[in-house]
């Protein structure tokens, strides 16, 4: 499998569900380099999932620009694939057929897609389950199938909408580690939304704090920590505390005066514990 990243460029993006409804988010600006992992954290209702759906091309923005490698996003594409909160596998299909369904939609013949599907299944360590019906798998295994179904498309960007929130702690930790290592190995971008600060620290190159109504990106924080990341590591713990404080400060600021200031920083700049990333 050969995957590369993409340059993501979002400028003054705004969204409202109907012309008369209030703004979901306002003036969102994000830029990401190829291969970078962005994690957007925020409380429920701040518009982070809507933003992700717009990046995936599943929803239309009400204004602003969204470009991938200088190309405007006009709809869904196999170049940027989304993984949802629940795996939403097709229960009438085996693991193999679920993983290959996107390639089938793209017109690949059964013979041609077989090797690539096997490779994707192997990547998520489900080789022994290829012929099983997906209903026979555990929640964690099902989410792995959903990951393989996304990876088989060789996306330049993988969008994750709280994909591990319904899993038990052990499975969640294993998948967080695996998704990050696979993304770094294959070089594709990750854009993930979560309200789990630990997850943000473990998976992000940069954490974007989104708050307010309409939602705004309040902080852009570089998470410059070595891999593999361990949640017991003091550096990880320190970053977690910093992110939590920043998040609460952003929420308080929004509640207090409706402030919209976007602050760009990193733990290294604030506490001097490591050099900022790029």
């Amino acid at each position: 499998m050969s995957i590369r990243g993409v340059h993501l460029d979002i400028e003054n993006l705004i969204h409202r569900y109907t012309p008369k409804s209030p703004l979901t988010f306002d003036g969102v600006r994000i830029e990401a380099k190829p291969g970078e992992s962005l994690v957007i954290i925020g409380r429920s209702g701040c518009g982070k999932s809507t933003l992700l759906h717009i990046i995936a091309g599943l929803l239309k923005a009400s204004g602003g620009k969204l470009r991938l490698d200088n190309e405007e996003v006009k709809g869904p594409s196999s170049r940027w694939v989304m993984m949802f909160q629940a795996p939403h596998l097709f229960p009438w299909m085996t693991v193999e057929r679920n993983v290959g369904v996107g390639l089938h939609f793209a017109g690949w013949s059964k013979d041609k897609l077989r090797d690539r599907v096997a490779e994707a299944i192997s990547l998520v360590s489900l080789d022994d389950y290829a012929q099983n019906n997906v209903q026979d798998l555990s929640g964690g295994q099902q989410q792995r199938v959903a990951l393989a179904r996304s990876l088989v498309m060789e996306p330049e960007m993988l969008l994750l909408d709280e994909p591990f929130s319904a899993l038990d702690a052990f499975t969640r930790a294993a998948l967080q580690r695996d998704v990050r290592s696979i993304s770094k190995e294959l070089g594709f971008n990750l854009v993930m939304v979560t309200h789990d600060i630990d997850e943000a620290v473990l998976m992000a190159d940069r954490a974007l704090v989104m708050a307010g109504s309409p939602g705004k990106i309040m902080h852009d924080i570089s998470v410059d920590l070595p891999d593999p990341r361990n949640r017991e590591d003091p550096e990880v713990q320190k970053m977690r505390r910093y992110l939590m404080d920043t998040f609460e400060e952003a929420v308080a600021l929004q509640k207090g005066n409706g402030g919209t200031q976007t602050k760009v920083g990193s733990l290294s700049r604030m506490n001097g514990i490591s050099e900022p990333a790029g």
């Binding site: 869904p76 097709f90 229960p91 996107g102």
Partner: protein
């Protein structure tokens, strides 16, 4: 105890349970039929014990079974089953061809569902046999009339089961499929049809039951072959033993067709 030994014991236990379950089903099947035939026999004996109703004896199970050899040798059973089977098959196919697309539109379009609810519910409640005069005017006294009546009886369960199946489809499957680049054709063939197959087949099973019930009276008039015709012919020739034999054929074929539907439901069901 080794894993292999445990697996072997588990397999033996499963096989033994399967045999027990199949054996019990077989005993229940035979016992149920025996009870039916005994009740039938005793009922007819009791009615025929009245000298004024002595000719009711021909309705009993023994004369009916005795009629089978000559009905078979004369090809009456085969011809009747073939003719009725053809009409039932064509009528059901027409009902599926009309019912499934309408059910899909009904399940996907709220406006269509709202507009169609009153007329569909009204027409569904009309006995299929009420359409016979119109069908005779349109198609004449021919097999086409029977096919029309079968189709109009069978179409409603298929429409409503398809629409109900679609209402149960997880909307996220469409989002995922769109996200993976599915075209409208893929959406229909790879997502919608497999997702609703079980409900459609449940509708077909219900439709088959209704159609089979409608088929026999529909063949009482204007056709010269089929199970309904055979029953009518037996009645008019006072051949009550063959009349009961044909009723047994109708019941048996209907039971077998329902069994085929159950097999298809098991084969295409993805619900666990």
């Amino acid at each position: 105890m080794s894993g292999a030994t445990q697996t072997m014991q588990a397999n033996e236990s499963n096989t033994s349970m399967m045999f027990k379950s199949t054996g019990r089903e077989l005993v229940n099947f035979v016992a149920g039929l025996l009870i039916l035939f005994v009740v039938w026999y005793l009922g007819i004996e009791w009615i025929a014990s009245d000298p004024d109703k002595a000719n009711f004896a021909d309705f009993g199970p023994i004369p009916a079974f005795n009629a089978f050899p000559w009905l078979w040798e004369d090809g009456i059973i085969q011809d009747a089953v073939t003719a009725s089977g053809y009409r039932l098959g064509v009528g059901l196919l027409i009902a599926i061809a009309i019912g499934v697309p309408i059910g899909i539109v009904m399940g996907t379009s709220k406006r269509f569902r709202e507009y169609s609810n009153a007329p569909f519910q009204l027409m569904r409640m009309v006995s299929p046999m009420s359409w016979e005069p119109i069908a005779v005017l349109a198609f004449g006294l021919a097999g086409a009339t029977v096919i029309f009546l079968v189709a109009i009886a069978a179409v409603w369960p298929i429409i409503f089961a398809t629409a109900a199946g679609l209402a149960k489809v997880d909307p996220a499957w469409f989002k995922v499929a769109r996200n993976l680049g599915a075209s409208r054709w893929h959406m229909l063939t790879q997502i919608i049809i497999p997702a609703i197959a079980y409900d459609v087949l449940t509708g077909v099973r219900l439709a088959l039951g209704v159609a089979w019930i409608v088929l026999v009276p529909a063949e009482f008039l204007g056709v010269s072959e089929g199970l309904g015709y055979a029953v009518q012919d037996a009645k008019e020739s006072l051949s009550y033993d063959s009349l009961m034999a044909m009723i047994l054929v109708i019941g048996t074929v209907g039971y077998l067709l329902d069994g085929l539907c159950v097999l298809a439901l098991k084969r295409y069901s993805w619900h666990k």
